[in-house]
């Protein structure tokens, strides 16, 4: 009987700990991402990629929603990076579950914008501490990740997306999502919650190439032949949408605004290009864009900074000397 009382007393506490994951630090997070074999001088996540250059051709449609200068009709150059998920800078391209596009707009000395976008439209989890557990499960293998998704019902939209996603044969044919929501702020101070996606203008069938660098070679020769174009499409939230929850997509009926075209015109190996030096922290924002309270978004600066600090320090100590960047 005594044990029963004891068990009843503990039951709520046990329930509570199941809901609240152990809190992790930025250092623990990056330790997990880099794994046991870290590659000195390289990014701890999305280590393999290539630099791209290009320009954003704005049509002016978004200028009433955000005072950020690049949305006025006209062109703004950027430095960007296409990459695959994972900690290994020599991993096979086609094995990676996620592909990414990152952009850096140096609008002026006082206005910069970094964007980090991925192929999934939503996150599987809503906070960085549960995300840590998800990465642990991914590293533990298919059975663990299956169990993780079963124990985390908030991952249902992500799982549904992953179940139907067909990787294409090119970086040029993927849709890259902001995933997290941001606020656009216009000159009058009005604020709108938005998400955005870079939508491809070409479709490329899945490739059966076995080369480790299949996607890198494909996109380099594609861009060398002809610029690669994406439409930059913003989705505006309604008051009933939760802009702080990255696991839930907003209804398809929401207003969408095409702000213009992202045009990729050049590629460079990552250690030879300008993108290598850049920390694509999506919280580097110009006037006219602000961060929402999304806990995943808010955790990104500290985690990105830790990864950036590690590789910058390694580079200072000569980690990349002798590689093909010199």
């Amino acid at each position: 009987m005594k044990y029963l009382y004891f068990a009843l007393l503990l039951a709520p506490a046990a329930g509570l700990t199941a809901d609240v994951p152990p809190q992790v630090s930025a250092q623990q997070f990056v330790d997990l991402q880099q794994g046991n074999s870290s590659f000195a001088g390289f990014r701890r996540a999305h280590a393999k990629g290539l630099c791209v250059t290009g320009e954003f051709r704005a049509n002016g449609n978004l200028a009433d929603y955000s005072k950020a200068s690049l949305f006025k009709a006209g062109t703004t150059p950027f430095t960007g990076r296409l990459s695959i998920a994972g900690n290994n800078p020599t991993a096979p391209d086609l094995k990676a579950p996620v592909r990414s596009l990152a952009l850096s707009f140096a609008l002026s000395r006082t206005e910069q914008w970094r964007l980090a976008m991925n192929t999934p439209p939503v996150m599987a989890v809503a906070d960085p501490h549960t995300f840590y557990q998800q990465i642990q499960a991914i590293q533990a293998g298919p059975a663990a990740i299956k169990q993780f998704f079963a124990e985390h019902p908030e991952s249902s939209e992500f799982s549904a997306w992953a179940g139907q996603y067909q990787p294409s044969g090119s970086f040029a044919a993927e849709t890259y999502h902001s995933i997290n929501a941001f606020y656009l702020v216009n000159a009058g101070g009005d604020q709108h919650a938005v998400r955005w996606a870079m939508q491809p203008t070409v479709s490329v069938a899945a490739t059966d190439l076995k080369d480790d660098d299949a996607l890198h070679q494909e996109i380099s020769s594609r861009i060398a032949a002809k610029p690669v174009v994406f439409d930059w499409v913003f989705t505006l939230a309604e008051p009933t949408d939760d802009e702080t929850n990255p696991t839930k997509a907003w209804p398809a009926s929401r207003q969408q605004i095409n702000a213009g075209q992202i045009v990729l015109t050049g590629t460079t190996a990552q250690l030879e290009g300008d993108c290598h030096a850049i920390n694509f922290d999506p919280l580097v924002l110009p006037s006219g864009i602000t961060a929402t309270a999304d806990p995943i978004l808010r955790a990104r600066s500290a985690a990105y900074a830790e990864s950036y600090r590690r590789r910058a320090k390694e580079q200072l100590h000569g980690a990349l000397e002798g590689s093909n960047n010199e």
Binding site: A26, R109, Q112, S301, E306
Partner: protein
């Protein structure tokens, strides 16, 4: 205690105001580089903005100090102790300059403009320089550790004057 034994009111205000600011900045800095909590971004933004305030304050404070006479050190201090007191104070001034300056330069070379409470922004490099970022990022960290050490020495010395030597050194700053 006569007026000449005490620091001027402006020097005392600078001292205690900056003491509160510097301790808060060190605590915020140590917290924000490890935390993944939603307030991390708010703290980071505040840390950078208050860093700009700190370098303006330390410049004003230095000018103010050079314009005022300091209360004399207790006459019975050895020459080595007198030298130590003066050297540690100039070291503190040096660190109070170097902390915000190295913080700004690491942001500058990382291409991250600093926003001041929505009023205006400080410029950053258009082209990121990871080498200089790494240099100033590590410097900022080492200077923080040095500053914590010198503050501990400073507080320890003040308490030693007050409780062991029972002189007026701590009281002259109150």
């Amino acid at each position: 205690m006569s007026n000449s034994d005490r620091f001027s009111l402006s020097m005392r205000l600078f001292h205690w105001g900056m003491a509160a600011l510097v301790v808060s900045m060190l605590a915020a800095g140590l917290l924000m580089i490890t935390s993944l909590q939603p307030w991390q971004l708010t703290l980071l933004t505040a840390h950078k903005a208050f860093g700009v305030i700190a370098i303006i304050l330390v410049m004003a404070r230095l000018i103010n100090r050079l314009r005022h006479r300091l209360p004399p050190l207790p006459g019975d201090l050895s020459a080595a102790q007198q030298w130590g007191a003066k050297a540690s104070h100039w070291l503190l001034y040096g660190l109070l300059f170097a902390m915000p300056l190295s913080g700004y330069l690491m942001q500058y070379f990382a291409g991250r403009p600093i926003e001041l409470f929505g009023w205006f922004r400080l410029p950053a490099a258009l082209q990121v320089d990871i080498h200089n970022y790494a240099l100033f990022r590590e410097l900022h960290g080492w200077l923080a550790i040095a500053l914590i050490g010198v503050i501990a020495l400073h507080v320890g010395a003040a308490l030693h004057h007050h409780f062991v030597r029972k002189d007026n050194v701590l009281k002259s700053m109150l």
